[in-house]
Symmetry: D2
Subunit: 344 residues, 4 copies
């Protein structure tokens, strides 16, 4: 199968850097261009020091962007849509990692992003990029929108239960805990090391923007709180759901096995003993896995479903490459084989 | 007012060390003895290196324990009750920091600790040691049982709402996130640094033992999950409650002000902007404060109440000294003035 | 002895915050004003959240500064000297924590700070504020300059050996390792959490500015490298010195005991076993101690002297209060009794 | 070229786990067996949770070890040599990652390991496994001994200067700073998270065992101190050398370029600006790179050479696979392409 000529727009951020790393080692990709207005002309390794000696590529400016097969957009929220018509002229396939095309309606966009969408007519052309749910749509899509990192963690944890209507959706409470790379690479008071180190900061107890994506996908919003931790990478989503009818452990296993049993990037993690009984994000740093586990409350109908992932991988760049592989009928795991490190 | 002659039983652990630090600087305390079977004869600073140059005290063995006014017991769960009759002969006042006398009935003890209580007839003699709820009882008590750290964080966050029956208790979902000092000072695989560093580990998604204390105090159990983090000290409890009737922000403020407005160790933390808008445990390291804040969900009747504390201080040694001050009619903040550090 | 009326100029930074915390609890100090141009009018706890509920003080602007007994200056390097004549009119005693008056000659200032000093005639009026070396001078001084944090750690480690000319000064190699609070509270790319977390960054292998202070005090420069770590507070200085003549362990002990045996804030730390054998900065967080230890190289004439401290305490605010106590004949440890925490 | 049938002896530790990860993804390796006495019969992912879903391999006991082409030995120091004759009968090629065959003489072994070597006659059969220095010997070797992690970092930093006799060897002072995975996976008081987190602990100021390897390789010992940090992976070696004659920057560059210009795993890192000017271990986590940089002291003949690596990769498992590739004439970077992550 032929190689794909690929460019990255907005390649100086953390997601852009991870995408660059993945695509440089992807056996079916020729990397054409990487743009950055701030660093145009500079070698990419100045910004992504792990790529020193790995590539001599330099950033170019957006104005210099040439036609290619697939464009990955890693621009800030609101910036992708501004130039979307131009991007569509430049490339047959687009994978947008911003939030601009995640929500299916202009009303939802207005609600969660607080401004009108510039190209509401394009919203319907983007497939929501969680392969485990929308693989077939992605296969046939020209345009894919990467899902939000927290949204991906919550949706993958809850989808099998919600789809089969086994839980009271309005009672679902989720707490996502995440690392500092979620906030991007711009320094701020909140990201200043003496302030962020060792923090357990409830930064978004209500009203998190990703609720919009979750509601759209699961058919119901959830009660979501987000807590910032002093780690760099990783998300742990703890999802408390209340079952309509009691389910024994085997039945729950079966539901998840049916949903994800053949998924290459979902691992069920539920051991009886040892310290790795349930999903842990630190084991997933650099990997594209989403680990999912659960524990039933012996005293009631509560079920705690736990999912973990690397927010820059399965939560962003990795999932984007997974979608790219699907779009182009490449093996889905191509370039995404790294299993994570231990210890780390 | 006279000084109190005080001894610590089981002083080589983390709680014992903090208690030792607090009592050494307490202006009304004469420290008589500190026991440790493992380190008997050795200077306490060998185990608690922050006390080097601060005290020349040495550990003695439990067998050498002499009569004194007040005994602080920092023995492992199950060990306090074994010798309680002896301790009662040695001291008029006892503050037990283990879990042995927290639950009021032998049935509850059996349920949560998995074994029968040795002296069920003594359970009623111990006052549950959260001063904000039981100050008067503590004033008149001979024996106090220190509350569990997670239980204290959850109870202080929820008590005003539960007491006034403003919420659906059975829908309450709580996630407590805590540091590694909660686990004590015995090395284990789970506490091995390469395994624990940077961890976000769902170690007790259901069935946490502190639910027993919470149920006993609030009148209803809560859905509690506990997550272990790679910090050393600190607890953040995120409590999702569902209001029976809508309450505006001012009303919620009023409820908490009424409950805690004159409490020396509870601070309401709820700013409109800045990075310290809500409680954060890292700001409380070494202090006896419990910070409480909340956020209403604009889209519904959910309220997220957040509490933070230092698990070794307000969650253990600090709260024990607070109870001690109350028992002896000392100013409640005596020896507990340290406000915490920033940055840290 | 009477209280002292004290103000802090430039109180919104980390050093200013620590000073504020110390002075608020100092039994002989009445805090008059705290200035901050950026936060004038705002409560200090907005910037120093550990002081919430502890003080209702608000920042005022520098223009509003009133006369007082003692002024603590926590302005950025270069800003203290600009207004020094005005400060001298406002207060009889000044303790300047910037680098502006640490070096005794305008030539040295020009060399290490890269610009001419504005008031070279004032340089001689400031005593270099390390009490262990210059206690008598501080007692009689009107003006004291706080020493640099790394300089303090190195000078205290090496002074006894250099003073007695026991080592080859030109062969001395020192590596200081420090936390992120050394860099102040302004966010930057280097302090951005994802970049700083877990870092071991050789940020100043040669040419560190504090060499100037060290040379001035010890009579000879040292080879100094500085490495930035992913901790917030703390300095460890590892000093490799080469002895002119062999010295056995007892002799070295005696030298340090003679120098520091009666010092309230210096602890010799050198155990034969256990994990706290040598100084460790994490045990000193919040304390004013400087811990010093050493190990002789069995195979030669090298001696490794190790010192640890909290850069914001003994390295800045704590040492300034220590000097303040000396200037005013207060007990030297007043307000500086906090021993540090364990674990932390 | 044919595949190699490979087994790992002692595969439950951190080095064994990394080796397992590398060999599972190595395109020319068939993994035959992995031994662990403690975990025999259990799936390897129980111990190395990053390998869950990646392999179904199980540990076997050492007694079950079968013949294969190449044996990697990851046994504790002292255990490799005990059974070396048996291992030699089982495999034509052996790569031993313990310290047992690093030193060339029984005298050196006795000196640094404190006991007599069991098979001194075998010492000469092992090539010291740093490819950058001994590539040709490794190509022709049957047996290779992996170099110590700290020794590798120091030797690679200093070799070009020592080889050309440009420095005074006896004046060289080195400080290595390393993470907790260096200590292996057995819990201890020193590795207990509350004690190790955030630590800057001078654990071996003198007498570090790796000095023996350094002396053997560079022809002269160095003054080496080792400091333990609260990170998990990574080494930074700061090497202070004193030049016999002044060398300008270009000359030093040339020396390193000549030595390492074509090395696939050594990167010279020396930028004029930015935050990644010099080597940093956190950028190397999971990679086999050794980054080297330097800074000249403007005021003298001191040169600071800085090297960084991942102690489990270039310092252990990665370098072992690199040697394996060389022994078997595979491309040297095979299976070692992972470039490290950013941010992390």
């Amino acid at each position: 199968m032929a190689e794909r000529r690929v460019s990255i727009v907005g390649g100086s951020g953390y997601t852009g850097g991870e995408l660059l790393r993945l695509l440089l080692f992807h056996p079916r990709v020729t990397l054409v261009q990487v743009t950055s207005e701030r660093f145009a002309g500079k070698p990419v390794y100045r910004v992504h020091p792990n790529l020193r000696g790995v590539t001599q590529a330099r950033f170019c400016s957006l104005a210099e962007l040439e036609p290619c097969d697939t464009l990955f957009l890693c621009l800030p929220h609101g910036k992708s849509m501004e130039q979307m018509p131009r991007f569509q002229r430049l490339a047959g396939n687009i994978i947008d990692l911003s939030g601009d095309f995640r929500l299916a309606t202009p009303e939802a966009y207005q609600k969660w992003y607080g401004r009108p969408h510039l190209y509401p007519e394009l919203l319907g052309e983007f497939v929501y990029g969680i392969p485990e749910l929308y693989r077939r749509n992605i296969q046939q899509a020209r345009y894919v929108s990467g899902a939000g990192c927290n949204a991906t963690a919550v949706i993958l944890a809850l989808y099998p239960l919600f789809q089969q209507q086994l839980v009271y959706p309005e009672r679902t409470v989720v707490e996502v805990k995440g690392g500092s790379s979620e906030g991007g690479n711009s320094p701020s008071e909140a990201s200043h090391h003496p302030e962020r180190n060792g923090v357990v900061r409830s930064y978004k107890p209500t009203g998190h923007r990703h609720i919009g994506e979750i509601e759209q996908t699961l058919g119901h919003p959830v009660h979501l709180s987000a807590t910032a931790l002093g780690i760099v990478r990783g998300i742990l989503a703890t999802c408390h759901v209340f079952l309509k009818q009691p389910l024994d452990e085997k039945s729950i296993w079966r539901i998840y096995r049916n949903a994800y049993g053949s998924e290459p990037f979902i691992r069920m993690v539920k051991e009886r003993k040892g310290i790795y009984r349930l999903p842990e994000p630190k084991l997933l740093v650099g990997s594209n896995f989403c680990d999912i586990g659960f524990e039933r409350d012996a005293g009631g109908n509560r079920l705690v479903v736990i999912s973990a992932m690397d927010n820059l991988m399965k939560g962003a760049a990795g999932q984007a490459v997974q979608a790219f592989n699907i779009m182009h009928r490449f093996p889905e795991t191509l370039g995404l084989e790294f299993p994570g490190l231990h210890p780390v």
